[in-house]
Amino acid sequence: MLGQTRSLKIACPNFGIEEKGALRSILGLLEPYLQEPWEVSEAGPCDVCFVNVDQPNDAAPAQDAASRVVRCAQRPRLHPQGTIHRPLRPHEVLAVLSDATRQLKGNDRDDTCRPDGHWGFRLRAWPLDFIKWPKPWWRVLACIAREAHSVEQIAERTGLPAKYIDVCMERLMAAQLVERLAYTSNGALAGAGLKQKWSALASRLLKKFGFAR
């Protein structure tokens, strides 16, 4: 159980300087979304240990047995479940640290926590300058304007690569325009047929107006 408020520690024993810097930057971005403050620790005991599993034969240095290990890889699918992407993605770091906080606090009291652990993002408000954003990002905004969806679901619905969505999500998080929520559906989004219908209408209308799609 945690005592007085202290920053929780993340160790990155085999991260390069740039990657540690990137993690610090992400922690700053995620600060409004994290229940407890986290910081990167260079030495000493840690609460979570991020390990770069793309570096073979690079044994992780001794770590606190109680700390949680998070594998980081360029291709997480080739590694055990729970491995997150390198370069680090804000929404994945958020998920990992939120879960870790919950475990470390020793209770499951989290208004947004669900047993199945499915998390998504929902828009709090549209950016006032969204008109100047890349148009594909409008799809991301539209997708999460009413209900929370995971990045994977957003990618499926919008047809955009997850990396591209990450950049948009990062911008939204920096502006505190998204909230992280649990969602119930964990399968494909419904309405593919209707989506095609509206897509066809959109094409016809924009063609009429002289806009390419």
């Binding site: 009413r146 989506k195 924009l206 107006f209």
Partner: protein, 187 residues
């Protein structure tokens, strides 16, 4: 197949509904404007008391998009029944030059909240001298107060390209944000 789609422009008197429809319609728009008799007459000669109507023909008459302009005042809320079926989106206009711009928006949102929550919605600030961050923020606050999340943007209703851009946003919402427009939403 001759398909028919509907979209509605809503807002306080003078916000630009009739102008938007006129900018897009393939036919001369029909309006039901009458002279104002209340305090509104100090800022505007006429007000819409029923609806404005225009039409866009698609693909050489293979479909039509019906454009409706509805008054934003709460006493005309029943007019929404006329257009509700088959409606796929709403554009709520805000007159940036009016002192009561946010009051007018709030009245429209209050009056039509249930319906606006279930279809793609864009809020467009019209008659602005330039980008208005403060008014945009107030519009967002008004939306939030009514449990709505919608894009807020600035435009000139007299410019067809600006109105078309609103359509682009609305269609993006429709395509990527709504499974069944008009069938309610989670709040």
């Amino acid at each position: 197949m001759n398909e028919v789609y509907k979209i509605v422009f809503m807002g306080a008197p003078g916000s630009g509904k009739t102008t938007c429809i006129a900018a897009l319609s393939d036919i001369p728009p029909v309006s039901t404007d009458v002279p104002c008799t209340d305090a509104l007459q100090e800022t505007k000669d006429t007000t819409t008391v029923a609806l404005d109507y225009g039409e866009l023909r698609l693909d050489g008459d293979n479909g039509r998009l019906l454009l409706y302009g509805l008054p934003g005042q709460s006493r005309f809320s029943y007019m929404f029944d006329v257009v509700r079926t088959g409606l796929f989106g709403a554009i709520v206009l805000v007159d940036a030059s009016s002192e009561g711009a946010i009051d007018g928006l709030a009245e429209t949102l209050e009056t039509y909240r249930e319906d606006l929550a279930s279809i793609p919605l864009v809020v467009a600030i019209n008659k602005s001298d330039g980008p208005s961050h403060a008014l945009g923020l107030r519009c967002q606050q008004a939306l939030h107060a009514h449990g709505l999340v919608a894009p807020v943007t600035t435009m000139d209703a007299r410019r067809r390209d600006d109105v078309v851009q609103l359509f682009e946003v609305l269609l993006t919402l429709l395509e990527f944000g709504f499974d069944h427009p008009g069938k309610g939403r989670a709040t």
